[in-house]
Amino acid sequence: MLLRLENVTKIYKTDGPPATILADINLRVDSGRFVCLVGQSGCGKSTTLRLINGLLAPSSGQVYFKEQPQAGINLQCGMVFQNFALLPWMTVSQNILLALEARGIDRQKAKKQAAFYIDKVGLDGFEDAYPRELSGGMKQRVGIARALAVEPELLLMDEPFSALDPLTSLNLREELLDIWADSNLAVSTVIMVTHNIEEAVQLADSIVLIGGKPGKIVQQFDVTLPRPRPKSDPAVLRYVDSIFSLMAEC
């Protein structure tokens, strides 16, 4: 068991009455799985991801990583952000090096590692480009390279493709699956937040549907179809339809 959430509840204290975002989330993720958290906007799926990373602390309940109670930031995670979160004044490689050096990795080694992952996401030749010179798809490749470069055991992705155009996100999704399947890379487990149900069905081993107010896990089920899973495949469409109807109910 890589990750376990036990009765995790998140309450935000705002100016008004405290708002419960998530209530009693129980989730188990085994090593090597590709898990998608889906749900309507505002249902708490991004909050769940941030609780897993340790960016937020649960109001009650506990997150366990490798069966150890987690407190603070979990540096075994690599996070990919929706709007890339790249520093505009740093080049592609500087952005990645920053994350590596934050971990005290030796400069020579960090450079090698950064170059390796820049190559891995297909940004070879753009090491010295600034983010503003890149397209949205390329920016997100940098975001992915940065998350991979710290060689995390768990890759966390917060709607990584929703700011991109459809064709670009299609390509990136395929490449992501290749990276995940690549046994040479450290990362073996992915948890991705998305509101795109087709995307979830195409990618995930396991889909967690979050819904309601406050957010609860409505249902969790495995997608057993073999990959690749073309969009028009009737089996894929059946999955998509059933999730849609589940979402409509909650």
Binding site: I73, Q76, P88, L98
Partner: protein, 598 residues
């Protein structure tokens, strides 16, 4: 674009070279402040021979005050974002500090100069630098605070998620994010600094007048020279040339450089030729060389600094509780020590000052304060309305002429630096000495002209900024609908510039309160002209001089400090009330109703 390979080239040498350069620069500034100038005789006042040195000394004072302001801004701004409790105290205090006239700080600065530093040249230089600082620092601190607060949440989370903390976080993320707004506010601060310079270079302590050599005191004393008008004009020309030079050779290149620190920068906005001088910097060969010479080391320094930041933390294999690093704790400690020292110092000094004041009788002029404030408020309002009268037609005329717009806004920013004293000879010459209006109204009108100098440029450049931000497609839509120019003005331009106009109004009234002391009490060619107003009372109280009407005897010091306390207190209350009850609400309303957003 600069040669990227060159900028990215880092080596240990660059790092040391950058450090060495900084050390040399600081030593030069310190040595420059202390050595040759220190031994210069103070009584050489108005001489063209010494003018270049005067300018250099003023520049050094400005630079020293600016560096102090930057340090203050970074420390206070970051502190406020990290400590919510402190934030609630710091922000309102900064808000008040930036809206009160700098003359308020005179007694404190002079007390330190005389009592603590012994009243030597160095003490007065220190007082002058601190006074310039009080006109520069507050908006910078606000800008640091706002830049950090407005950091995209994802970037903040990203730093946390990847464990980027302490100094690395500050240098790689916080500081760069502050640069664009810090730069813009630095230009405003320098404008305010130049404007305040005259007052800071002539320090009056009851009977003693200490004149520090500088361009500000040159202007102030030009009237007493053999050729008052010629010297005045030369002084103004030199000052404006210096300000324009700094604009051209410091701020413009820095503004181009600072673009890389913007978060919202997209390819389209960057590749667009900004035109004017900024465009010239991007296009021309000579400017590119200059830019490289000036900015490449800066870039290299930043890169080298980034490259050498390492956090010696072991790789962890288990999730762990993050503790703040040693550097963060050090910084925290330092901030706390500095903060508490300041707070206790200010409170202690204040209590001592109050006890001293209340143990003496008050000046009879205290009773005049409310009426004086009312008169002064009316004068500022009049100056403001007169400013609108000529700026609005100018803005309408410039509206469809982008070149004119750009030229005008540079022009107004430069002119806003001109100290009131530079205009005094014209105002007095026209309205007082050769006045058809009689002595009282003559002084009143001369004061109004001087007051306008402190008001109108803010109104103008804020409105110019407002019209230049109107989106082109809205103008095209108006053209396509066939709106008449009058309709277009009423339906598009006027509503669109309202938020900027109110911002301008707030800064203009701030400028007005700051100018009052020069416009209500005019000392020109051995004559002292004044009208009843808070500026005059502040002048009387801060210099400790008795109103010359009662035959030149000086006011006993405790009389003066009691008067100053009451005048400043009531003025602060008035300014804060007017800001809170009127301008802030109007601005919020205008922003809410007329902001153009896509």
């Amino acid at each position: 674009m600069l040669n990227r390979k060159m900028l990215l080239h880092r080596s240990r040498n660059d790092y040391w070279l950058g450090g060495l350069l900084l050390v040399v620069l600081f030593t030069a500034i310190l040595a420059g402040l202390i050595h040759p100038f220190y031994h210069r005789r103070i009584h050489i006042l108005v001489s063209l021979f010494w003018l270049p040195l005067d300018v250099a000394e003023s520049l050094l004072r400005m630079i020293a005050a600016y560096l102090l302001s930057l340090i203050f801004a970074l420390v206070v701004g970051t502190y406020a974002t990290r400590h919510p409790r402190a934030e609630r105290i710091i922000l309102p205090i900064l808000d008040i500090l930036q809206s009160i006239p700098i003359v308020t700080f005179f007694p404190a600065a002079l007390a330190v100069a005389v009592d603590v530093l012994g009243g030597g040249r160095l003490g007065f230089e220190f007082a002058a630098v601190v006074l310039i600082f009080t006109s520069m620092a507050w908006n910078l601190a606000f800008s640091v605070y706002e830049s950090i607060v407005l950091l995209p949440p994802e970037v903040r989370e990203c730093a946390e998620s990847f464990g980027i903390r302490g100094m690395q976080r500050f240098v790689a993320i916080i500081l760069p994010a502050c640069i664009p707004s810090l730069l813009y506010n630095s230009i405003l601060s320098w404008t305010a600094g130049w404007f305040a310079l005259t007052a800071c270079e002539i320090l009056t302590i009851s009977t003693q007048n200490v004149t520090l050599p500088g361009i500000g005191s040159f202007l102030a004393n030009a009237a007493d020279s053999h050729h008052p008008i010629a010297y005045n004009l030369i002084g103004v020309a030199v000052l404006l040339a210096v300000v324009a030079g700094i604009e051209l050779f410091v701020w413009r290149p820095l503004a181009v450089w600072a673009q890389r620190f913007r978060y919202e920068m997209s390819v389209s906005t960057l590749s667009r030729d900004p035109g004017g001088i900024a465009g010239w910097y991007q296009r021309g060969r000579l400017p590119r060389l200059l830019m490289q010479a000036a900015i490449a080391p800066l870039n290299r320094g930043v890169n080298a600094l980034l490259a050498h930041l390492k956090r010696p933390a072991p790789r962890t294999t288990v999730p762990r509780v993050e503790k703040p690093g040693a550097s963060v704790r050090m910084l925290d400690m330092l901030q706390r020590v500095v903060g508490w020292t300041l707070v206790t110092g200010i409170i202690g000094g204040g209590v001592y000052y109050l006890l001293d004041i209340f143990s003496h009788p008050f000046s009879p002029l205290v009773k005049e304060i409310p009426v004086a404030i009312a008169w002064s408020f009316l004068r500022i309002t009049a100056a403001y309305l007169l400013s609108l009268l000529w700026t609005i037609p100018l803005v309408i005329w410039a509206f469809r002429r982008p070149r004119v717009l750009r030229a005008l806004s540079s022009f107004s920013q430069i002119l806003a630096s001109m100290p009131t004293i530079a205009l005094t000879f014209v105002a007095v010459g026209v309205f007082v000495l050769h006045s058809p209006f009689g002595p009282h109204w003559g002084v009143e009108l001369a004061g109004l002209v001087l007051l306008m100098n402190g008001v109108q440029w803010y109104v103008l450049f804020n409105m110019l900024g407002g019209v230049s931000r109107i989106p082109g497609d809205l103008i095209e839509a108006c053209d396509a609908m066939g709106l008449s120019p009058l309709m277009r003005w009423r339906k598009l331009v006027f509503p669109a510039i309202l938020p900027a106009l109110f911002t301008g109004t707030i800064t203009a009234f701030g400028g007005g309160w700051n100018t009052l002391i020069f416009s209500e009490s005019i000392f020109y060619a051995n004559h002292y002209y004044h009208v009843l107003g808070i500026g005059w009372l502040l002048d009387v109280a801060s210099t400790g001089q008795n109103p010359p009407i009662s035959s030149g005897a000086t006011l006993p010091p405790h009389y003066a400090s009691g008067l100053l306390l009451c005048a400043v207190g009531l003025l602060i209350v008035t300014i804060v009330l007017v800001n809170r009850l009127l301008w802030k609400r109007l601005k919020a309303w205008a922003l809410d109703r007329f902001r153009i957003e896509y």
